[in-house]
Amino acid sequence: MSNMEQNKDLIILGIESSCDETAIAITINGELKANVISSQIDVHQKYGGVMPEIASRLHLENIAVVLDEALKKSGVTMEEVSAIAFTRGPGLIGALHVGLQAAKTLALIYKKPLIPVHHLAGHIYANEFIEPLLFPCLAVVVSGGNTELVYMKEHLSFEIIGETIDDAIGESYDKVARVLGLPYPGGVAIDKLAKEGEHTYKLPEPLKDNSLNVSYSGLKTAVINLVNKEKMLGHEINVPNMAKSFQDVAIKEIIDRVIRASKMYDVKEIVLAGGVSANSYLRSEIVKEFENTPIKVVIPPLWATTDNAAMICKVGEYLYKKGLFTDLSIGVDPSWKIEDYDKF
């Protein structure tokens, strides 16, 4: 292969450090060549949740190890890389800083374009590792930090048409899990136990309006109050039943809005995105709801439901083609809105 031909390859190095995974991936023309993730989950499990300062410390400790492995696995050299994409937000500020410095340092040394990527756009585009997105598309973004319905008319067009008015769905799972004495991350534990339980506890339906918004704070509080009341009365909590009762209401809350949105908007496809999209009940319910309809449902691969840098590369490719680069004075934005993905 001549040098000319080699230069035509689009090679993206992606860096993700928004929460508790330090991740670097490399794609060549969209094909994943390395996808390295150093997870901190064991460390945070001890605290029952992500400790921001500890997360930041571990990012600094792990970042070069992850880069080393990604370069070795892919066989790509820094000179060959076309651009460096990194998560600019949303996320934990101290954690984002580490990935940003790594990205900027590499961009400086090798004089490469720098591409700021929105973390949730990453989760949505992770579905492209299964198949190309089909537009107009409704992305159901459900994670520990976010719960939003994003309408996409075409590539890189994001409109938030509904969102949580208080807690994120994953946050409520984690808090309910903690009060039930289940390990972090709570979503996995509740999902597993709910399969053994029955819906016996009466919990309030969170938000009764006609909007596309959801609410999880009241549901979480209702579970906590119920658990405390039962304890005071000396009753033992049936944990699988409580898990099932909570999960039914929590998932119904989001499914109802997805159904409503699919009627209000012209949608050819629904994609799930984010950590809570690993939830087996959400997956089966959404598939069930839209089978025998013209709307196609795409479920991300399990590996893409947790944070990774492959998804950052994927968005990076589209942004590269759009020429959306930034300079070395870029900072992070812990509360960056997906609609502003091109403003930095």
């Binding site: 400790e61 500020i93 800083h97 410095q101 040394i109």
Partner: protein, 206 residues
């Protein structure tokens, strides 16, 4: 021989450039909590105006702590990635020791930094590279006592938070150039990072 010097452990953003062990240029200003945005940009600026290709840096000297947690991680992440990818030596120094008076022999300096919550980061060092007190956290009361008990020692650092009368203590007014010269002076084999992949900050607090 090109040396890049970095410190973002406290309020200052410090970027220095040395050629053959002599400081040739620097950019130093107060950038509290903005180092993340500015530091790489300033490194780029200093390279550009001195015609240095970023790939031609031969070694890096960086502070490893104690100090602002986020600040420490800015310069250390840069040094770590830089050192790893170009496979060049990285030297890590105490962010307190670089505050010493190194101009004369046998001078002892109490080096201080605000650790918040009425506490200080403190280390005492001699100009002969001897550590008299390892970096640690003390209450501001203990620090003031220590200063009063050792009036002969110099006192260095941004100590406005201690509200001391600087005329009544042996305060060291360290210039930007002094600071960078200290970093060059303190660079030696024992401060060389043996495995860049495992480089960490020294926080002193959990």
């Amino acid at each position: 021989m090109i040396t890049l010097l970095l410190d973002s452990s406290n309020k200052l953003l410090v970027v220095g450039l040395a050629k053959d062990n002599k400081i040739i240029d620097y950019i130093i200003y107060e950038a509290w909590q903005r180092q993340s945005e500015y530091m790489i940009n300033e490194i780029n600026n200093i390279f550009t105006r001195n015609n240095v290709d970023p790939k031609n840096v031969n070694e890096i000297i960086v502070t490893k702590g104690p100090g602002s947690y986020t600040g420490l991680r800015i310069a250390l992440t840069i040094a770590k990635i830089y050192g790893y990818i170009l496979n060049i030596p990285v030297y890590t120094l105490s962010s307190l020791e670089i505050l010493i008076d190194s101009k004369e022999e046998d001078i002892n300096t109490i080096c201080l930094m605000n650790a918040r919550s009425s506490r200080s980061y403190i280390g005492i060092y001699s100009s002969n590279k001897v550590t008299l007190l390892e970096d640690k956290v003390l209450t501001n009361e203990e620090v003031i006592q220590l200063i009063n008990d050792n009036k002969i020692y110099k006192v260095s650092g941004d100590i406005s938070y201690l509200k001391l009368d600087l005329d009544k203590i042996n305060y060291l007014n360290l210039s930007s150039l002094d600071l960078l010269n200290n970093m060059l002076y303190l660079k030696d084999e024992k401060n060389k990072v043996s495995n860049i992949l495992t480089l960490k900050a020294i926080y002193l607090k959990d």
